[in-house]
Amino acid sequence: MSRYTSATDADRKAMLDAIGVGSVDDLFAEIPEGVRLGRPLELPAGMAEQDVFEHLSELAARNRHSDVETSFLGAGMYDHYVPSLIDSILGRSEFLTPYTPYQPEISQGGLQVMFEYQTAISELTGLPVSNASVYEGPSAVAAAGYLAKLETKRTRLVVSRGLHPHSRETLVTHAKGYGMTVVEAGLDDRGATDLDALAALADEDTAAVFVQQPNFLGTVEELGTLGEAAKRTGALYIVAADPLPLGILESPGALGADVCVGEGQTLGNRLDFGGPSFGFFAAADKFIRKMPGRIAGETRDVDGRRGFVLTLQTREQHIRREKATHNICTAQALNALAGVIYLSWLGKRGLVELGELMVRRTHYARETLDLEQINPGPIVRELAVRVPDIDGVFERAREAGINPGYRLGRDYPEYEDGLLVAITERRTKADIDRLAAVIGSVREEVPA
């Protein structure tokens, strides 16, 4: 008997009799001889649960995860603390195992969660309309590009070089499909988007201008000023934001963004080697009928009771087919639930307190590391520095059980000796001091 099925031989016989065939093979008679496999799949034999557990545990043990080293790795995903109540609530079958709420009468829990999530994202981004989630950050950027195409019919997208390298590449991949070109505005000598370069590129053919807040180097961008330049020729202003620092940073909506998208991992989601997390997508009111993905809305039932439904579905693929505003179907409902629980746990004041803690520790790190700044301007959780003998630093840090951060040279040849250091609330003063000591000890050995 196969795992997780229940048909006994007696069941099978009774069922075949009812169908009116002699064997299970008869049910596959429709498959032409030429395309039958005719042999067992060449896969390892099935195993008992405890053996599968052992195997997976053995694989997991060969990964150096964030509990066994002091990690300053960020660059798009961050080691924030995930409170216990999230695992508890997400583990409930009623949230873990339902399908998409196409039958609203028996899905009010999931639909109300979406409504509450949309409210939280709307609050953070300062934009009135949020959908119920998209896949993740970089593909959310690509989805925003598609909205810009639908809205403006223009052909060009301008991106800041401060946009995450994965977002830039993902945008190019998708734009090739929907027939747009992507051009890049560089960074200035303070690690912020070069305003003049961006203004020069945002022309009459430009459908949208993309800026990230904080940008990939950790720099807090001057969103208002950049937005004025972006919108001068009628392009949409799209901000890719980390939602967590938006407790202390002015909302993109208040600074002129038409659309705000981003990676939601920082809101109560695991690292999970890069996914699943969720992407968010928020926009100004006028885009509500051009948004991608599912949206929950409030309504009443026939008895006048308040309830929630998936709404504006005529945008979506299952109704509108080739005229849909996006092809997305399954998104990230469970991960978005983690996001809204996390934001409720932090609460109105906690979000600010956490932001302020990160800013103070990050500035402490900037002073303590005492290295040449690639981005000397405002930062909140991440800083980019030039490190003498960066190979030596990585080697020494590894020995000390420290992961010093992300090597910027992998994506930015101009910062070949650059290190991107993330300071979440899990990295204490003592951790930062240890990193500084490692870098200091290597620096002393480097010939001036």
């Binding site: 034999a45 195993m47 699943p276 639930l337």
Partner: protein
Amino acid sequence: MSPATLDPRTDEQTRTIYEKSVEGRRAFVAPELDVPEVPIEELLPQSARRTKPAALPEISEPEIVRHYNGLSKKNFDLDSGFYPLGSCTMKHNPKLHERVAALPGHARLHPLQDPEHAQGALELMWNLQVALGEVAGLPHVSLQPSAGSHGELAGLLVTRAYHEDRGESRHKVLTPDTAHGTNPATVTMAGYEVVKVGTDEHGGVDLDDLRAKATDDVACLMLTNPNTLGLFDRNIEEIAAIVHGVGATLYYDGANLNAVMGKSRPGDMGFDIVHFNLHKSFTQPHGGGGPGAGPIAVSDRIEPFIPRPQVVRIESDNGHGPRFDLDHDRPKSIGKLRGFHGNFGVFVRSYAYIRSLGGEGLQEASETAVLNANYLRALLAEAGIAEYLPIAFDRVCMHEFVLSGRGAKEQLGIKTLDIAKRMLDHGVHPPTVYFPLLVDEALMIEPTETETKERLDDFAQIVRAILEEAAEDPEIARNAPYTTPVRRLDEAGAAKNPVVRQPAR
């Protein structure tokens, strides 16, 4: 706050977490500030600082837990009941998978960890690639796409890259009129024009129509086999020959793969590109609308174009075991489709499933899925049901089948929607309704292999009871459901005046 829209007589149970907020309450306690308390004004310029705090709830931890537990109880879910939702493959979600996905070596692993220190994760991904390639009959797998629709987009983008690499420019993609809505939506997003292909009297692709439309301007035919009627297209070899004859690719929508694992492989049918829904055939829980994952498998000629990076296995030449790495140096790749490497947590669950079942177990899962579907088809073909809900195409089906509610509408005065809503009162999730589009008042039923015979017997009895009841008094079904947390909702009103967030405070 007390929102003006809330009616305390009926709405107490639907208060949102924002409506439960009381100023001064909290759950979060910040870690100790162990660095100097520099005024924030000195660290962030005023132009960057938030002026109005985000209006998140102010609420204690016990109340958060009660709030979300309370909401959970208004959801129907697979662990509690039968979910014969066609095309969605609502099979059991093994509990082992949650345990192994939560191991810190998986859950707490940063995606940018040096591959040398993520060998377990990369080996798992490699092993999953190999296994999915074997199931598909196509050797090269990219795990990156985030869900089925993302896999479809990947499939058309690699098709475009393949043709451009040959110096060809093609503009059309063929989709059958039975296709999932994601197919035509994907075609548009990938910059192609949709051309529909008709269905023949047996429920398969209309070969004459296909021949007429398969011109050298066609880039791809997107197909699922078995199709959305649950029928295996017996002409698949001929279809593949026609499509390949004009230089187009043949794309397999893996939504229905649960019917044929270990029985027939898309690659052997002639498909060039396949996407998998790991949240369907491979047990990732649906989570109320995700997460999923939509890996693709492709043939040799498509391989250079798949997304990057790709997990590769490097054999050791010094007696050690193999090591695994991420190959970014793929010049013809379409590039990244998303951040990092895909939904790794989903890969862990699907890999655990494949290792639990093995090849024979996967084959047996498909056999049982098809057995269950045909048994339920037979039960619903009995007198008292079939005259109201005739099967759309009367053939042996694969893992699902489609009934038409035309008879019930005409003879009993109840629509498919009414039958579906009345099922809610019986404690089962309704089938997929009004799809595929070519069947009038369609009900699309997929029981999956993890249901018992008794469950299928019960379901048939429920259908019979609903029809018998409607023959007596159709008003009961027309006004159903009655026992759910809310009854039928005003969807038109919701769309006309959208309220998509809590009103700002």
